[in-house]
């Protein structure tokens, strides 16, 4: 049960990260290398804003949401928007730069202290086999589920979702048909950052937040690539595979390899099916 609990929560963490990466890729053909850092900083913001005002959960949640919205809009409007028309690697390198800046923020603002998020709602549930699930874990899993369902419904059935997908394919045409492309892309960044923050909070509750935990971003990226960079379904599938493999490796083989495992899986998948399990083949040439 311990195994199942850990893997499920790890899957949720990675799935949220992968979903954010997929959304950003679908919306702007940008592969975001800063996602892990966004997640961890989101987690830190959650932690700090909760601390600031009487350990209040609501303030923490508000803080994290505010951070996501502000950060998402900032990244898009100030940086990514100016990169229209540049070759693809420029956007990627800018996200790498953002990652570095966020990491330094952790060092400067939070002194890179290890922080565990404890929502403090006692007691945790004990399950058979020695596993413990705190209420936060349960809430996290439920929220993840709600997030993905909401996202699916949004993209499939709402008008804004259709406009989103159209903007992702051809921003020029979308603009000609009256869609405010800046609004749509800012929204994409906000949703992605929100997902990242949620994942950071989850991870911080189960493990810890520090400058080392930013590596979950790379695991999320590989999960997205394994599943297919343009598929939300793939994000979940990839996350499950990566979480599973990582847990098994750490438990059975060698903990040092935990960072490398996602990449090994990715290499395997890329040899066989480079566009990912659920991705579309044509996408391979776009990036």
């Amino acid at each position: 049960m311990e195994f199942a609990a850990t893997v499920i929560i790890l899957t949720c963490t990675y799935a949220l990260l992968a979903a954010g990466i997929v959304i950003l890729y679908k919306a702007g053909r940008v592969v975001n290398f800063a996602h892990g850092e966004l997640a961890i900083v989101g987690g830190y913001v959650f932690y700090s804003s909760g601390l600031m005002i009487n350990d209040s959960l609501w303030v923490a949640i508000l803080g994290a949401i505010a951070f996501s919205v502000i950060m998402g809009i900032f990244i898009y409007m100030v940086m990514m928007r100016r990169l229209v028309g540049e070759p693809f690697y420029v956007a990627i390198l800018v996200t790498v730069g953002i990652a570095i800046v966020l990491k330094s923020a952790i060092i400067v603002i939070w002194r890179a202290e290890r922080v565990t998020i404890d929502v403090g709602v006692a007691p945790a549930i004990r399950l058979a086999g020695g596993a413990t699930l705190s209420y936060m874990d349960i809430a996290g899993v439920l929220l993840t589920f709600a997030f993905f369902t909401g996202l699916y419904l949004f993209f499939r059935y709402t008008r804004l979702g259709v406009q989103f997908r159209g903007t992702a394919e051809n921003p020029l045409l979308a603009s000609q048909r009256g869609v405010n492309v800046n609004f749509v892309l800012s929204l994409a960044w906000i949703i992605a950052t929100l997902a990242a923050s949620l994942s950071g909070v989850l991870f911080g509750g189960r493990a810890f937040l520090s400058t080392e935990s930013v590596t979950i971003g790379l695991a999320g990226l590989t999960a997205a690539l394994v599943g297919g960079l343009d598929s939300l379904r793939g994000a979940v599938a990839g996350a499950l595979i990566v979480a599973f493999a990582q847990y098994l490796t750490v438990r059975l083989i060698d903990p040092i390899l935990s960072e490398a495992v996602p990449f090994m899986i990715l290499l395997l998948v890329m040899i066989v099916r480079p566009w990912g399990l659920f991705g579309t083949m044509e996408e391979l040439d776009r990036v």
């Binding site: 592969v31 940086m79 100016r82 990169l83 540049e86 693809f88 690697y89 420029v90 990627i92 390198l93 800018v94 790498v96 730069g97 953002i98 990652a99 570095i100 800046v101 966020l102 990491k103 330094s104 923020a105 952790i106 060092i107 400067v108 002194r111 890179a112 790379l218 990226l221 590989t222 690539l225 960079l229 040092i256 390899l257 960072e259 490398a260 990449f263 090994m264 990715l266 290499l267 890329m270 480079p274 391979l284 040439d285 990036v287």
Partner: protein, 358 residues
Amino acid sequence: MARAGYNLRTNYLESNEVLRRPYQRLLVALILLAAVVLPMGSSNFFLHLMNLCFLAGIGALGLTILTGFCGQISLGHAAFLAVGAFTTVILTVHVGAPFLLVVPAAAIAGAMLGFLVGLPSLRFRGVYLAISTLAMHYAIIFLATSYQAKFAASASAGITIADPVIGPFVLRGDFAWYYFLLAFLAAVTIMCVNLSRTRPGRAWMAIRDRDIAAEALGINLARYKLLAFMTSSTLASISGSLLAYYSNVVTVEKYTLDLAIIYVAMIIVGGMGSVLGCLLGAIFITLLPYGIDNLFAYVPRNWRFGSTIFGVQVGAVGVCIILFLLFEPKGLAEIWHRIETYFDRWPFRYRPLDGIRR
């Protein structure tokens, strides 16, 4: 004979010239002269900084060939540096090989690994290639970590090696290293400049710009992509080996993904695709943390935590990457070219056209 201006080349011979104008030749001569004379009155610390810059320059030139000329994105540069360092360690500690044998051996090891890491480039481009190089990075670092765990004196102290001996000379001290590295860097720079203006360079740039068209022109993609990877990894490996000798100690913790990104930052800040940019970027990024240290002297005392300075040093690289990519994508080299053409064209104005590459 009337020239069209320094950056407008009107025939094939002209396009292969390196230093076309007298003032450029004079400038390079002056810089070399200054470089040779400089140590005669500089502190050891300054020489140490210069040595770090030179070492970074050698490694960065490798990355320029791979990413700047050939357009293959690679995040595995730290791994190649590690290969050089660890080959050096293995050969000096276990076999006792001399310097003049170890460095070439490190180069060969680097080349072989470059071949391996370059293989995915035949199938993938762009992000997928970057990720596969990242995967190789982790694989190599894992091997290095295992080696260090087994053979190091203590777990995190790393492995020490003696100073290199070249014939009757022992290469010790910043002064001696300065001249050695200066000569080495100059040689590698000339090699890279020559590579860029002959067939491999042209093939790489064709691949970078439109690889399908390059293939249609008869350029063997596999051959040149692998050549780029191998040249890059060889240079990085040599740089890693020299750094190992220079600092007399090797630890695997140094070779992180962040280090690879720092090298990428060097070529971005300096200007991708030009040797001048590469060197400028290497110097800039190497000296940046020290510059920030100095800046902090002006900051009020109670802000000066160790972690804050470190954090700002880390963040500064990121900020530089972002600022340069947003506002000056062609880097420091472009700023230099703009200054040059301002004086060249004066009193006319010269406005650069977007999308024109030199």
